[in-house]
Each structure stands twice: as structure tokens, then as C-alpha cells.
Subunit: 456 residues, 2 copies
């Protein structure tokens, strides 16, 4: 815990002294994100203004103290788990939000919740496509720090594709702004900052572009008796050249978890589920094609819905999953690998085989259209030996993913969870380049230390 | 010119000695890009393999010689104009091209011409959207170095949005690969390299994603008696929430230049022209809306075409422009500013006013839907006083653009042409961050020195 003299010094610099918290008993949520790791920070600041952010940065620099920024804490890689003795900086109260309807842009404080932005944009017939599963809690600041993806990213792209400008405070206390629209000249500092997991600077304002709300066609639920049949259907859809707005895969065990959480007709006893959304503009052709691919690949249950309530029910199968799987087990570790779409059936097969041979319960679901699969490793008991098996299984999965030309993380980031595996994917000069960029932004290693990079 | 001992040493390291050229009399084109600046290099290497690139890099490092990479030389910011005594490295012969149909990706050598990629992708029903006006000459390497845009970028995004991986040789001679699909973790080195104008490393391979070829609806030509009416039409289309695939603006003088180059019905005596392409999926609704906005804003001539040949003729109005304007004058300097779309009418008005008050001939055209305007400053005589006026006018335009929340370059890059104006747009910490990134990649300042940054 931070000593009282230091606390007094820091709180005097904030816009209101009560923004500093040194007793975490009412703030347990600030010790972790959605993974299993817990940190032991020294204090917590709720920044309400850019001045509060600068005060926290200046204090940490003066005292060589680690500073760990956080949004809503919904991350899945330990990205905001506090370093020992660190100052946690929550930006969730920085919620200023303005929309320029004509230019189709929004200016957001880092604490704006994704769903707030979606709702506000919807008033103007606009939307912000990157929608992580936790979109009703996750903040824009956290989304930018992790370069969040989501269900609609298949057709519309990820956070990086929508951020057009950033403002932040560097560790030296300077304000830095990457210009709105400035994606075409100079070095793209904005794009280095997106996905930098709070290790380079503290984001205080985010400019994003919006798009006219796309009209949705049909939502399709297809159940299969064999996961490989589902994977083949994904491949057939991809080969057709038509792009659904959403294309999600759940294996039988994930479907069962979801169905226990909330029952949905057609999900029971399936070995795999696909959820497909077609866009209004080629609804007829694409829905018909999906139907015929499902039948060809021995689909056991098929529903096509367009009624709003019934569609909402179908999406709950997917949106409930993260919590449903978490509740199922004592310990859940979730990986989010991604492979080129042509290798997706191979990956599905590999995970099914791993599930058959491992003593752990393993299930998988994800953005199939992007080749992105969330693989969950579950321990029912939380015993030490399960952790060891988990570590071996995860290493096997990640190694196989990289062999298939894929990536360790489709959208969750590196954080604590994947840092040791980074050298699997990146060569020495690339890792070295990243480390040198970290050094020029943060030579004392004060900003979110210990994240992203494997040990020294 | 490079001395013969050095030339001997270098040519011996190349895969074939004749890849080295020291006499530029047959290679005048390699002294410049599409701007007016000419360089005085010492020699030229045509790299055919990554080994040739590494040999050139090693040679330059050993001799502290500047190395200036280039693609087709179609750039509009002096980005590949050779530094004095430098070694020019052409990658235009590195033309390996393979397409993975199922994953919708292409692996390209830096010398692959944009149109080659488009043609090859078209065989699989796929396309690569970023299409600079010079797409039948420009290379993928050059496109990546400049983060090239194009006519279709309004709906589909720029080069940055399609590059999923890069391979290159660093100045220390190391091979560096940013992983395919690796856009979500670690620092985004790939995105720093895109648009870095050959100042950070030499690109030797580019992985891009492709999309199913979008079906085109109608192509519309609309002529106006007043540029402000055309700008209002752009604003009305934008406000409608429907997004055309292309939305181009030409002022009267630009239209006249194009019409002198190749005559097209309806273009003569117009004060402004819009060219609009609607996508097949909402062809009817969007074409009808465009028609009605054009009429409301007193359009003087309107044509809606869908016949392939007649459509092609309409696009030549736009594609001919760069050459047409260049032929018109002794000296042409082309700026490509961009502003938030809500400020586009203000920008149009400012340029029209500048044209009325300046002794120079000034015209403008551009990707109106993106708020991107190419403003051309023409001197008929090439006299010194014209250069001085040009400099003043350009400074006024760029200052006004930044005041409107815009950017100095929508798509052409900084190069030599805009480096002195960079501090208008970027604050000190941001410029400093860029310089530090340059230093860690290239501490001796050997790669394309003198580009992007204002003098020391």
C-alpha cells in the first residue's frame, strides 16, 4: 500500500483529492481483468480529466513508480493486471462523447463504453462496427489498448480500422496528439499506439470514424453432428465469394455450456454450431447458399430467423459463452488463436484431437469467418497437475497455430498470458524493434511493466 | 558517379554483375518521380532477389552511402528522388506473385504492378481495392512505401487496410518479417513500415488481403455551373447515409484540362463535375438519390451510364487528369490536402477564392467523398517569380487545411515536397517520436535520407 506521505502528495495534485484510493477492500475488481491473475497495486487513481492523468504520470515518473492504466477490466490476456506496488490509473470516468454526424466521426473519452457509443451513433443512423463480446462493459480506451475485435469484424474490420486519431500523455508528461485523418504521412505513431496495451502512453481522447448502420438480412443457426462438417460449411461459404456479416463457430462442448446457461432450441446434443448473419443487400442469395451448404454437409438442424426477438435469442447463444464457460469450471484459460481461413478445418481437427487425448476439458468457439478460434482449457478442480497439463496443451496449440501460418492472438492481445510465447511468432529483429520502440517511449519502463515482452 | 573500384566491389556481390548501372544516360527516369525534382545519384542497382537487396544494404552500410529505394517512380511527393551520390535501389524486377484463393490473400514481390495484381486476382473473382490513379504503372512496393490511396478508397480503404504482412531487409542487413495476420499483438511494426517512404527498411515481400470483386451499379456524370453547388451535392450524398463506391470532384479548370486531352460530352464549360459510382447492392436507391440531389443543386448536365465502354470513357475524364494537367503547364506542383467531409464545401470555396486572387492558374480535383482534394498550382512560364507565388499560395492552402482539422497529404506522402510543412500538422512530441523511430531503425541515416523530416 502507498504510504500516507506519498498519498498526500499525489492526492493534492488531482482535480479532487478523493480520486485517490489506497484501500482496495471496496475495489477488489481493480486487482484483475477477466483472467485468473491478481495483482498487488499500491494505490488507484480515478482520472476525471487529462490533468489527473498528467498528475499521475508526473508522480510516477518522480517516484520511479509503475503506472498501470485500465478501462473496464474485461480483457482476456491480463493486460491490466497491476504490477506489484504500482499505481493503477482508471480512465473509466473520462466519458465525454461527441458525434459529428456529417463527417461521420466521434470524439470519445477513453472511459466511453462501447455500447454507449453504439447507442449514441444509432440516433444518427450510424454505427461503430468493432463490437467485442463484452461491448456492454468494455471501454473505448481498453478497446484501443488491446485493438479489440468482435463478431462483426469479419466484414467490417477491427478497432485499428476505425481509429483516426489519438491524444495522450507520454511518460515524460507531454501531451501527444496523432492528427485526425493523419494516416497517410509521417510514421504512423497512432498505429503503434493502437494495441500497445498501455505500455507506451496513456490515452486521453480517441477519434473514430463511424459508418451508416448496415441493414441486416437473416440470422441462421445450423447444428452439425460432426465438427468437421461445420468447418467444411465455413470453407464452402468462404469459397462462394459472398461475405456474411457474422460467421461464428461453436464446438459441441461450448454449445452445451451455453445451453446450460440459457436453453435454446436446436443447440442440444449438437457436435458443432454455426451462427451466420447475412447482410440485407444480398440476403436472398447468401441465405440460400448457406442453406444449401449446410444441407450438403449433413446439417442436423437449421433455423433461419429475421424476427428481432428470435434473432436476439440466437445471439445470446454466443454472447453468453464467455460467462457460461467460466462458470462451468474452477479455472478457465482462454486462448484466441487465428489461422488463414484455408487452414481452419485443420485447426478444428487439431483441437478436437487434443480434446480427445487431454485429461482436461477443452472447448472452442470463435469468429470462424476470420479463422479466429477461442480455445478454452478448463480445470474442474483447480489442482496443480491441471495447471501443468494446461501449460503443455497451450504450448502445443500455439506451436501448431504458428506452423499453420497463424497468430497467437486474433484479438485479445499479449498481456501477461501470451508474453512467453511471443518468440514463437516473431523473429529476433522484429522483437528487438518492438523493444526499442518501448524504450524510446518509456526508457524507465514505468508504463504497464511486464506486459507483452518475454522476460529480459 | 560511383568510382570503378567501388562499382567492382558492389557488382561482385550481386546475383548478376550487370544489375549495377553507373552510367545514367539510358536511365534518366531513375533520377526523379512524377514531381519536378531531379537527383544526382552515384549508381543504380536493379535488385532481382532479396540477396541483391541485402548486398546493396551491406555495401551502403560499409561505405556510409545513402540508399534510395524506388518502385515505378510514379510518386507525387519526391519520395524516391535520389540523394546526392546515393545508390538507387530499384525493386521493380522483384515480381513474384502468388494468390491463395481460399484465404483471399496474395504474396507479392515489391515490383508487382498494381494492375498485374488486379488482373490476376480477377481470375479468381477477387480484387485488391487500393487503386492509385497510376495503377497501371505503380508497384506494390511503392504503394506500401507511400500508403497509396485511390478512387475506390472511399468505400474500401487505403493500402494500409489491406497489407497483412511485410518482409524486408533492415539497414543492419537483418531480415525482418512482420507476421501475416499479426495485426493484433505486440507493437504494430508493420504499420510503422507502411507509409514510411523507404526510410526505415527495404521491403522485399508484401502479403495483402483481397476481397470478392464488388459488383458495380451505375456511373454518373453530373456537371454544375457553380462549384459550390457540386460541393453541396457531395454533402447531400454524404448526409444521406448511403456510400457510393466512388465520388470524385473536378473543378471547371481541371475539367477543361481533361477535356482538351480527350473530349467528353457534357464536360465542356462546366464550372464543376462530379463522377459517382454506385454499388450494385443499392444501385436503384442510390442512383435515384444522386439524381435528385444533383437536380436540387441546379446541375446543368446529368448522365447515368452502365454500358462498359461508356463507363470506361467517363473514368478516363478522371484517370487522364494528372497527365492532362501536367502537359498544360511548364511547372505543375500538386498538393493533396484532405479535410473532414463537413468542411469540404469550405475548402472548395477557399481554393476557388485563391484561384480568383492568385496570378497563377490553380485547379483542383479529388476524392470528394473522402474530403481529399488535389490542388494543382500551374506556372505557364516557369519563371522564378511564379515559384515564389506558388510557395506562398501553397503555404496558405496548407495552413487553412490544418485549421479546418485536415491533413497536409491525403495519400501522396511527405517526401521532399511537404517535409517543411510537417510542423504545421504535428506537435513537437509527435515529430520527436517519429525522429526517434527513424533513429532506432536507421541510426546512420542511410535509408532515403532527407525525406519526411524538416531539416535539423
Amino acid at each position: 500500500m502507498m504510504n500516507s506521505r506519498a498519498a498526500e502528495e499525489l492526492s493534492a495534485r488531482l482535480s479532487r483529492p478523493e480520486l485517490l484510493v489506497t484501500d482496495f477492500s471496496d475495489y477488489e475488481a481493480y486487482l484483475h481483468d477477466a483472467t485468473n491473475d491478481r495483482g498487488k497495486p499500491g494505490a488507484l487513481v480515478f482520472a476525471e480529466t487529462e490533468g489527473d492523468v498528467a498528475a499521475a504520470v508526473d508522480f510516477c515518473r518522480a517516484h520511479s513508480l509503475a503506472l498501470v492504466p485500465r478501462g473496464a477490466g474485461t480483457g482476456l490476456s491480463g493486460g491490466c493486471v497491476p504490477a506489484e506496488g504500482s499505481l493503477v490509473l482508471s480512465t473509466e470516468r473520462m466519458r465525454r462523447l461527441t458525434i459529428d454526424r456529417e463527417s461521420r466521426t466521434a470524439l470519445c473519452g477513453p472511459g466511453v463504453i462501447t455500447k454507449e457509443l453504439l447507442d449514441k451513433a444509432a440516433e444518427f443512423g450510424l454505427t461503430y462496427p468493432p463490437d467485442p463480446a463484452s461491448y456492454d462493459e468494455s471501454t473505448l480506451g481498453g478497446n484501443v489498448a488491446e485493438n479489440a475485435g468482435g463478431l462483426r469484424c469479419l466484414r467490417f474490420g477491427v478497432t485499428r480500422d476505425y481509429v483516426i486519431g489519438l491524444r495522450g500523455v507520454t511518460v515524460s508528461g507531454e501531451r501527444m496528439a496523432t492528427g485526425v485523418l493523419s494516416k497517410s504521412k509521417g510514421f504512423n505513431l497512432g498505429d503503434v499506439l493502437i494495441g500497445s496495451e498501455g505500455t507506451l502512453l496513456i490515452i486521453t481522447e480517441i477519434a473514430v470514424r463511424l459508418i451508416p448502420t448496415p441493414r441486416v438480412g437473416d440470422t441462421i443457426l445450423a447444428a452439425f453432428g460432426d465438427p468437421v462438417d461445420a468447418a467444411r460449411t465455413v470453407r464452402d461459404i468462404t469459397r462462394s465469394g459472398m461475405v456474411p456479416t457474422v460467421l461464428e463457430y461453436l464446438d459441441g462442448d461450448a454449445a452445451e455450456c451455453s445451453n446450460k446457461y440459457e436453453k435454446t432450441e436446436g443447440v442440444e446434443r449438437a457436435a458443432a454450431i454455426l451462427l451466420v448473419e447475412t447482410p440485407a443487400e444480398n440476403r436472398q442469395a447468401l441465405t440460400a447458399a448457406v442453406r444449401s451448404f449446410c444441407r450438403k454437409n449433413s446439417c442436423s438442424h437449421l433455423r433461419v430467423e429475421s424476427d428481432e426477438n428470435r434473432v436476439e435469442q440466437l445471439w445470446r447463444i454466443r454472447r453468453n459463452l464467455s460467462n457460461a464457460v467460466k462458470e462451468m469450471a474452477t479455472v478457465r484459460v482462454s486462448e484466441d488463436v487465428a489461422v488463414p481461413i484455408s487452414k481452419f478445418p485443420v485447426l478444428i481437427d487439431f483441437v478436437a484431437e487434443m480434446n480427445r487425448t487431454s485429461p482436461l476439458r477443452i472447448n472452442a468457439f470463435g469468429h470462424a469467418g476470420d479463422g479466429n478460434l477461442h480455445v478454452n482449457f478448463l480445470s474442474m478442480t483447480g489442482e496443480d497437475k491441471d495447471y501443468q497439463i494446461m501449460e503443455q496443451d497451450i504450448a502445443r496449440l500455439l506451436k501448431r497455430t504458428v506452423e499453420l501460418g497463424g497468430t497467437l492472438s486474433g484479438e485479445h492481445g499479449v498481456g501477461l498470458a501470451k508474453r512467453r510465447y511471443l518468440p514463437l511468432e516473431f523473429d529476433g529483429p522484429t522483437l528487438d524493434g518492438m523493444k526499442r520502440i518501448k524504450f524510446i517511449f518509456d526508457p524507465q519502463n514505468l508504463l504497464n511493466p511486464g506486459k507483452i515482452f518475454p522476460g529480459p
